[in-house]
Amino acid sequence: MATYTTAFASLARYDKGGVEVINDDPKNYVFSNMFDVASAASPWEKVAVAKNMQYVLEVIRAEGTSEWRAAPHDEFALVVDGEVVVELLDPAEPQVDPRAQGSVAVAGEPAGTPMGRITAGRGHMALLPAGRCYRFRAEQPSVILLQTIEGPDTVYRWADICQTA
């Protein structure tokens, strides 16, 4: 019986594919690679790698301890490399405008009730509940793909990360 090896790329080892143009503009495909983006990013930058109207997928290089953040809607953090601890807090006072979209930074150490924590490895997806505060911690450089809505800290650098020719 054949044996198979499932290929998961990482910060340390990734091999990009690409767009082979026949009659098109490669920029139409907005082609990038999560690990390539994370390799060039600063810790905790939220770099958009996909956008569909107001919705975005952000690549985050997780390294050290992040600031506290909050969003008025659910977000989802998929760890695609390494290990990330997610701390969750039920804030004593609302930390984000419920009419806003995307996450915002929470100044300092917010007061509230600890909700618990999640230790997530490669392939694990964590719920970041609406209205709650969260922060990440990673002992080693790791990579998160965040399902969210564009916010004030979403970074766009398409020309730098995407195939253009």
Binding site: E20, N23, M34
Partner: protein, 327 residues
């Protein structure tokens, strides 16, 4: 979708044991090897295996987003409430020869007919959702049915898989063994440590383990929902049985392994690009193309969709963006 009370036009069973089906001017019949489709200006023949695999996706996805091409000739266009059934409409040669034909049907009407056809034409042992090496044959005379396989519903989490009250995780006990091509995928679950009273909100699961236990191919399921932003991961092996003609931008994130996409012009079928995606790659499919994937080994693909109810009107008015971003 409940369609059992909608009448379906069927013909007498033929010598192979199969019924024929009529939808307006279209007539569908099958024999031991082929599906035959006739319409007022022409006729077409497809391998019945390829036809049933495409029909299965069209039914399970409720006509999906945009066009589901069964091949270069036959397919459906979703208008969200009503559906075009076409022959040659998106084929340059058929259009120029004026042999193309399309008719519009109430979505419930065409769904009821397609469901009845799928149930009648799928034999015992054949699973149209399965990879080629994981199913019996589609061919031959009428030999029972496989209703359990062809009536599967698409998994659609309300918030996230694994959250209490939402879609459950997969396991051996739920009838989802690890696929033979994902035997090496770690099955560890994240350490979830909620404080008392927060058990429903402190939630996480192993998406890769969940996908390693998928019993279907080329069938996106919703695992997380950020308002109208839908994570629809799927496992892919062999060839996508339909050629998807986009009506909106669609994104792919290659989680594992490798898939090759052939991209063609949505209207004419003229080749536009080949896109090779390896683990970690991210790419958008523009709204004016059609695409078909080829996956040498079973692969994990995250399909990311925008399910906004405002999009059908924007699409109908030509106001939906053709490309994801301008830069």
């Amino acid at each position: 979708m409940t369609t059992t009370d909608i009448p379906v036009e069927t013909g007498e069973r033929n010598e192979h044991g199969y019924s024929s089906f009529r939808l307006g001017g279209f007539v569908f019949s099958r024999d031991e090897h082929f599906a035959h489709i006739e319409w007022p200006t022409g006729r077409h023949v497809m391998s019945v295996e390829a036809f049933l695999k495409a029909l299965m996706r069209d039914v399970a996805w409720n006509f999906f987003y945009g066009i589901v091409n069964f091949d270069a000739v036959i397919g459906t266009m979703n208008h969200y409430g009503n559906v075009d059934l076409f022959a040659g409409r998106y084929n340059d040669a058929y259009r120029k020869a004026e042999l193309d034909h399309q008719e519009n049907f109430d979505a419930g009407h065409i769904m009821a007919t397609f469901q009845a056809m799928l149930a009648d034409w799928t034999n015992d042992g054949f699973d149209p959702f399965a990879a080629p090496q994981e199913t019996g044959s589609a061919f031959g005379g009428k030999n029972g049915d496989n209703l359990a396989a062809v009536t599967r519903t698409r998994v659609t989490a309300e918030r996230m898989v694994g959250v209490p009250g939402d879609e459950p995780l997969r396991s051996d006990a739920t009838g989802h063994p690890i696929n033979r091509m994902f035997a090496d995928v770690p099955q560890d679950e994240p350490a979830v440590e909620p404080e008392a009273g927060y058990e429903g909100e402190v939630a996480a699961f192993n998406l890769y383990a969940y996908l390693s236990r998928s019993d279907v191919t080329w069938n996106p399921s919703v695992v997380s929902v950020c308002k109208e932003s839908l994570y629809c991961p799927t496992t892919e092996e062999f060839i996508l049985p339909i050629i998807h003609g986009n009506d909106r931008v669609e994104w792919f994130v290659q989680l594992s392994d490798e898939i090759h996409w052939k991209v063609e012009d949505r209207e004419t079928g003229a080749p536009r690009a080949n896109v090779v995606m390896k683990s970690g790659d991210v790419a958008a499919m523009p709204a004016d193309i059609r695409h078909q994937g080829y996956s040498p080994k079973r692969a994990m693909l995250l399909v990311w969709e925008n399910g906004s109810p405002a999009l059908p009107d924007l699409i109908a008015e030509g106001k939906a963006p053709k490309t994801a971003v301008e830069f």
